[in-house]
Subunit: 310 residues, 2 copies
Amino acid sequence: MLPVIVIHGGAGHIPKERAQLSCAGVREAARGGYGILRASGSAMDAVVEAVTMLENNPAYNAGRGSVLNVKGEVEMDAIVMDGRTLDSGAVSAVRRVANPVQLARLVMEKTKHLCLTAEGASQFARAMGIPEVPEESLITDYARMRWKKNLAPDANPVECQMGKMGTVGAVAVDTEGNVACATSTGGMINKMEGRVGDTPCIGCGGYADNKVGAVSPTGHGEAIMKVTLSRLILFHMEQGRSAEEASDLGLAYMKERVQGLGGVVTVDPKGAWAARFSSLQMAWAAVQDEQLHYGLYAGEHFTESAQEQS
Amino acid sequence: MLPVIVIHGGAGHIPKERAQLSCAGVREAARGGYGILRASGSAMDAVVEAVTMLENNPAYNAGRGSVLNVKGEVEMDAIVMDGRTLDSGAVSAVRRVANPVQLARLVMEKTKHLCLTAEGASQFARAMGIPEVPEESLITDYARMRWKKNLAPDANPVECQMGKMGTVGAVAVDTEGNVACATSTGGMINKMEGRVGDTPCIGCGGYADNKVGAVSPTGHGEAIMKVTLSRLILFHMEQGRSAEEASDLGLAYMKERVQGLGGVVTVDPKGAWAARFSSLQMAWAAVQDEQLHYGLYAGEHFTESAQEQS
């Protein structure tokens, strides 16, 4: 059954004209990450590759395409976690880097810390030789349009809900049974400067443990934090629930206890996987046994050969 | 049995000449917080009052007395959580505020977010009318001496271990059975600029849920994060373990799985409480039924009237 990779491109309400792009990107990223697993690469390499592809794709709220904070600036959060050792790396409110997920991985590998924030994260990026990119290169016309629209006094709450859409994430199991997760986001549209959401917070924006599995969530960040959603789902799996049952239990609890919607991708170390959500939509894709699985609305599950181009 | 408050002043190795100060401060803070509970104040009011007292006391690594980062600067982290609603507020890498725990509470009460970091947190403090204090006012001679000592190429690892000491925290149950937690820290001595530890990370540096209990931890921040220690202990309590058993299970797991030492204070909603640690020492104090309990080394448990001055 091994290996497997499962990707999400964010939960929420995805405008019709963006749905096609959003679905195409996660399928491409799932194929990209699976290519690494098929060549006996590590789960960590696969999730970082997949999330990097989505950060580079302007259709998502991560890296290029990130939503803007209330001042019209880009501040990004990312996390990775390695299920072998429980090692993790994260960055919060980082600016002017193209791939926050790669910086998060460097925090894990090159420092004694698990998280660096804001200017400290930028300094570390410079020390690691990561080029600083102009802020403009991360901002799309679409992001700027939504920022302006949400500043208006008569801003439409549906537009605001769309702002919760587009966080990207991946979980994988490699041929050796190691699990890993990665999540990256521009956060919540028109957020306060310095707002840190669930993504860089271990146990909230991701968790990976070879003994249990791995989770990457998306949705209303503050709700995910209140229930420590990733860790909660893995606790249910430790109690004997399947990846799918545990994901549904975690999402139902978040909805009932703190009225939060979202979605998750989840794997267990044997390669069982789930892509579940309580929001209207979540763009997701998975590859296992050379089959590509994907969907957008609840109940959708399409399958095609992973080799096919679509 | 209700109400109760339990305080810690950090786990680790406390130098002899500091032990007396450290023990006196937690007893005073426990009495201060209990005064609020006795007058039917909320658990949230009590933990914030107790942690504020410890931030103002230069004997601890929080507020005034914080350890310095590698550049000789003070960057502080704090969190609060309200067990009634799972609402939480946190600040990370914040500078030039006297009481980060009060700023964390304002994040919870006055924003839609759960965490603000670095310059964004400072901006919010200014907007709330919190006076900016000179960095020098937060730095003690002792903190500067340790910073210099640890910069030396022959720095003694025992000194480094001391650097993990002194995070402060409190958990409480009020007369209505509501639980809350608060934690505040200057972090790890000679940390990188922008390093975020466990404290502002929900589920790691604290968690509170009226249905289960509340935890505030101290110790090696990165280890606490890897096992999401606070949430882990509360999961054990959800499975039927007592506050003391759950605390010991969580600490033992952290030691075995990621070789991390630390300590916790824990309460359940009925007022059962624990102060447990795997480190050599942890300064702790609790007040319940007009009795003050306190200790420093494993197995120590002194009791006196809460009215007595000592």
